[in-house]
């Protein structure tokens, strides 16, 4: 039976590694929400001296690619230093899984984001980060690189769908080069709101479509 998922994805989906919680973790993060249908929580145990990830666990509420990516990303991160683990990309995770269907990239990016957020959480807790800075167009664009164009499975920026980004008085306006009636318009809007809306100085995210 031809499944859209590779055998490695199915193996990790059936038997996900590193599932669960760490009691009293050194850092944790949850990305996503029940509303968007995908959530990944990542818990870290980090050696204070070497900054090496001694243990990592995850929990997932989501589809098969979400669960499988949580599994592979934690496998990749275990034993690495936080600096090394920060460099793990979605592409690496996807390659390690033997590839993911384009339409599922948005669900799998979440596990990578969650790992990075957990590392950031660790850095914040241990005074390893500088002061937070005001959100810029560049910062928003960076985040938009994590919003997928479900048609091709590449991000909105790379597929040139972002026509305009502007920020004024805490309102971020993003113009997407698609008709509002597009099959994935609502999905893209939700994803952008989720990726940008929680930044500390952003009050509102307005997503507009060109037609």
């Amino acid at each position: 039976m031809p499944l859209p998922y590779s055998e490695i994805v199915m193996e990790h989906f059936r038997h996900p590694r590193n599932v669960g919680r760490i009691e009293n973790p050194d850092a944790k993060a949850i990305e996503g929400s029940p509303a968007c249908g995908d959530m990944v929580a990542v818990y870290l145990k980090v050696d204070e001296k070497t900054h090496r990830i001694e243990d990592v666990k995850f929990e997932s509420y989501g589809c098969a690619s979400n669960i499988a990516t949580g599994s592979i990303v934690t496998e990749l991160a275990k034993g690495k230093t936080i600096e090394e683990a920060k460099q793990i990309t979605w592409k690496e995770a996807s390659d390690a899984l033997g590839g993911l269907p384009p339409i599922k990239t948005h669900c799998s990016v979440l596990a990578v984001d969650s790992l990075r957020a957990a590392i950031q959480n660790y850095e914040e807790r241990h005074g390893l980060v500088a002061e937070r800075e005001p959100t810029t167009v560049e910062a928003v664009t960076r985040r938009l690189k994590h919003v997928m164009n479900p048609v091709v499975g590449l991000d909105l920026v790379r597929t040139k769908l972002v026509r305009e980004v502007s920020i004024a008085d805490g309102v971020v306006r993003v113009v997407i080069d698609l008709p509002a009636t597009h099959q994935f318009a609502n999905n893209i809007r939700e994803e952008i709101e989720e990726k940008v809306g929680h930044l500390w100085d952003v009050q509102q995210v307005v997503v507009q479509f060109t037609e």
């Binding site: 029940p34 995908d38 959530m39 599922k104 999905n187």
Partner: protein
């Protein structure tokens, strides 16, 4: 390979009944001519007779006259034709307004949206949390400019059936035409179009073990409707194209094979399944407990996502459907669950089980057990509901004391 695959997605498509295939066969190999007029050659007259008999069979089940039924390529075409055809025919005479519900299936919903883009106003009548139409709101929504009301007989996802007699009475009283999408109820649930007062009805063969790509539209005699496609004069000059005689014959045979006894058998299986699944903690029934399709069960399992549930069930040999965004082609959560006031989590965790002729009674317990196991496995790895689950365990322990 699995011993037996249990198919519980009969709302999406059904397995063809061999008896339907047998009835269709002669029209592929022996009587393969087009339906000719009465002055044509005999093979064509035989084809025409078969087509008209099929039409009469379906009309009888509706309490309609044979010439009020035209064959189409399925529910999508039927609903498109009914809604756009009537709206355009009445745009000048009545007005550019139609009324429907937010939980209709896509052919109706997207036909309405298409009309909106052409400058029509559409009022979406409120439904309650079980999916039943707010009749008072329907009454208020109809204006002198309303060209058409389109309300489904039964919902495709949650199975809720509407009080069509009451809906039709309101439409009649306000002098507006009523279209009913009966794709999922016909002919398991009675629909007497003349007695109730339905002006158009969408029907399909694919939900009743008939052939795919075959449907029908009932159009009450005298209903103003614009021809949808340009072509020949087939189907009373309303639906051009060479008639699918085999398809029509298969549809009629499929209709004949639906009996009240069978429907009761499906109802019993459905009731048993709902009863078993409601024993799974944090589970709720979607749709109306009584006013629902006899073959439909739809439940939401909290803290789990439907696509994962579906895949795990597939690996165990069960085919079901889910309202989760991950599963949908537009990556959007079920508009039906959201339309009845459910939140995204309830939509993502919703699973539809629909029974058909080829299900066995033993399927019910088998799928119920599999669902309970899979839900429990997925909840174990879910970040949601952990504390709630602990509370549940504590309260269960307390009850035992």
């Amino acid at each position: 390979m699995l011993e037996r695959f249990v198919y519980l997605d009969n709302a999406a498509a059904t397995r063809l009944d061999e008896r339907v295939l047998e009835a269709m066969k002669p029209y592929f190999f022996d009587i393969y001519a087009v339906a000719t007029s009465q002055f044509g050659y005999s093979l064509g007259i035989d084809a025409r007779d078969a087509l008209e008999q099929a039409r009469a069979t379906i009309a009888r089940r509706l309490g309609a006259k044979a010439e009020e039924v035209i064959f189409t390529s399925g529910s999508t075409e039927s609903s498109n034709m009914a809604i756009k055809g009537v709206a355009l025919a009445l745009a000048e005479k009545k007005g550019r307004h139609i009324v429907t519900t937010p939980i209709e299936d896509f052919p109706v919903l997207h036909s309405a949206r298409s009309l909106e883009r052409q400058g029509f106003a559409v009022t979406y009548v409120r439904v309650d949390e079980s999916g039943r139409v707010d009749l008072e709101h329907l009454r208020q929504a109809i204006t002198p400019q309303t060209a058409l009301v389109s309300i489904q007989a039964a919902n495709q996802e949650i199975g809720t059936t509407q009080d069509l007699t009451a809906v039709a009475a309101i439409c009649r009283e306000r002098g507006v035409l009523l279209h009913v999408d009966a794709t999922h109820s016909f002919p398991r649930l009675p629909l007497d179009v003349h007695q109730i007062g339905v002006d158009l009805a969408t029907l399909s063969a694919h939900t009743i073990h008939g052939p795919r790509g075959v449907g029908a539209l009932y159009i009450r005699a005298g209903t103003p409707i614009r021809k949808f496609m340009d072509g020949g004069f087939q189907e009373f000059d309303l639906r051009p194209g060479v008639e699918d005689i085999a398809g029509a014959v298969g549809f009629a045979k499929a209709v004949e094979l639906i009996t009240p006894e069978e429907t009761e058998r499906l109802r019993a299986m459905r009731d048993r399944l709902i009863g078993r699944l409601l024993q799974v903690p944090y589970t709720r029934l979607n749709g109306h407990p009584e006013a629902r399709l006899p073959q439909n069960a739809n439940l939401s399992f909290r803290f789990v996502e439907g696509e994962s549930l579906l895949l795990h069930l597939d690996m165990r040999g069960f085919a079901v459907s889910t309202g989760s965004a991950c599963f949908s082609r537009s990556l959007e959560a079920s508009h039906v669950i959201l339309g009845i006031g459910g939140d995204h989590e309830r939509a993502h965790g919703s699973v539809r089980f629909t029974f058909g002729r080829f299900n066995q009674e033993s399927d019910v317990d088998a799928v119920a057990e599999a669902v309970a196991e899979v839900v429990s496995d997925l909840r174990r790895i879910s970040p949601l509901g952990k504390d709630a689950e602990r509370e549940q365990l504590v309260s269960e322990a307390n009850r035992r004391l």
